[in-house]
């Protein structure tokens, strides 16, 4: 029963239309929008604050929400769905030759110092290679060697054993087994019995761990 003289010349859009307007403006704006700005952009007679409020309630519990940013408003993804906004791609890469050789030496000769790895490989071991193996949790630091300089040693981890399907590092086949399996086709160098030497080395080193 409003006084007819109070009515504006044109009716303001109905509340649902006003809510639609706020929705569209908030969606398309490149920055959060203040209520005053909403009001200025909506047709005469609209109540931006009220429309905003009902829009905010409508989005409660949905995938996006109407949130306050300072004294302005914006539509944002619901916080619990943030995980959808990141896409993880897993890339499988072969370990580098240097890394796999270093790993093999640690596995067969553990505990093993860096100097020993270098001697066996015949080249310097880069810091990155060891870091990578440590990061993969395939090797870890062992006890320090009780020799001058007390160098750190490396040993393989349980994670390593799990990954390679081994119960124990001693299960690693020796050179004789490798040759029997056809992995080594060459003849032994004259005057050397590498498989024996390796087996010996290996036994000795694993004693520490036992």
């Amino acid at each position: 029963m409003a006084d007819p003289l109070d009515r504006p010349l044109f009716d303001a859009p109905d509340p649902y239309q006003q809510e639609r307007m706020v929705e569209a403006i908030l969606f398309a704006s490149a920055a959060p929008v203040t209520v005053a700005d909403l009001q200025a952009r909506m047709p005469h007679g609209c109540d931006a604050a009220e429309a905003l409020d009902s829009l905010r309630r409508r989005y409660e519990g949905r995938g996006v929400r109407v949130v306050r940013v300072g004294d302005a408003w914006a539509i944002r993804t619901a916080a619990d769905l943030g995980f959808l906004m990141s896409r993880e791609t897993v890339e499988t890469r072969k370990l580098s030759r240097a890394a796999i050789e270093t790993l093999a030496i640690v596995a067969y000769h553990q505990p093993c110092t860096r100097a020993e790895i270098e001697e066996i490989r015949g080249v310097a071991v880069s810091r990155g290679t060891l870091d990578q193996l440590l990061e993969l949790e395939w090797i870890r630091f062992g006890r320090r060697r009780e020799t001058p300089g007390r160098p750190v040693t490396f040993v393989v981890t349980q994670e390593f054993l799990d990954h390679f399907g081994l119960e124990n590092a001693r299960d690693l086949p020796g050179l004789k087994d490798l040759r029997a399996a056809g992995l080594l086709e060459n003849r032994p160098a004259p005057g050397r019995e590498p498989e024996e030497a390796a087996a010996e080395d290996q036994g000795e080193m694993f004693e520490d761990e036992a």
Partner: protein, 260 residues
């Protein structure tokens, strides 16, 4: 009031159009565009257009342009020539001696081209009149970045591990075949040496005396140097620089510069 004005309107519009045609040749996008504009003055559906009348209109237009000394681009003149040809084909009885498309076929094709151009213009207008993004509807103003994380997983199998170990432990035996370059003299080296020395070999000289210092003691080095120098000699013979001879089997091989 509307009644009073409307009868005069078409005349005015037509006259203005005719003037525009003359003055504004550059406003047309080529002869086909001009033909389409001219065809509209026929006020019929493009499918019922009189190509003959259109050809006349075009040729008139070109004549008027000439009178007004308006420079017409070459393609307008090419079209005029073609339309004149078409006109004659349409007006004269078909010559049974002449092959090639009939006037009717050519006219039908021109009508098709005009209709197709008109259709594309209408389609373009309809397209541009659609609700458009950034004008009538809008995309997200504040897009959220999708963060892309790349995780690298390194893998190696037991076989890789064992093969790596085997490779290290048996490195010396595994050595792939390779030439020991420092103990070999290549033919190129020998050739280069001989090219420099050949000038001095005016008479028959034993090739074995050409071996460089340091390559005669060690049998391995001597063999390599001898072989490469012999091969180089043959190359030089082939090139006509030197002559080569050997008295009998296993006798010294002798070379000398070729004269002339």
């Amino acid at each position: 009031m509307a009644d009073a004005v409307s009868p005069a309107e078409p005349d005015v519009a037509e006259r203005m159009a005719a003037e525009a045609l003359i003055v504004d040749v550059d406003g047309f996008e080529g002869p086909l565009d001009l033909l389409l504009t001219l065809s509209r003055t026929q006020k019929v559906d493009l499918r019922q257009i009189s190509v003959l009348a259109l050809a006349r209109q075009y040729l008139d237009f070109v004549d008027r342009a000439k009178v007004l000394r308006i420079e017409l681009a070459a393609d307008y003149l090419v079209m005029a020539a073609w339309l004149a040809f078409l006109k004659s084909r349409l007006l004269l009885p078909p010559d049974p001696e002449e092959d090639g498309p009939s006037g009717e076929e050519m006219a039908a094709h021109l009508a098709f081209q005009l209709e197709r151009l008109e259709a594309m213009r209408n389609a373009a207008a309809q397209l541009m009149a659609r609700d458009r993004k950034g004008r009538d509807f809008f995309a997200r103003g504040l897009p959220e970045q999708v963060e892309r994380r790349r995780r690298v997983r390194h893998t190696a199998g037991l076989m890789d591990l064992m093969q790596a170990y085997a490779r290290i432990r048996t490195r010396d035996e595994f050595r792939p075949y390779a030439m020991d370059r420092d103990r070999v003299m290549t033919m190129e080296e020998a050739l280069e040496r001989m090219r420099e020395l050949i000038g001095y070999a005016g008479s028959w000289t034993d090739l074995s005396t050409w071996m460089p210092d340091g390559w005669t003691g060690d049998p391995v080095l001597r063999r390599s140097a001898t072989a490469s120098h012999f091969a180089a000699s043959l190359e030089l013979v082939k090139a006509g620089w030197i002559e080569i001879r050997q008295g009998e089997s296993f006798a010294p091989i002798e070379v000398r510069r070729r004269n002339g």
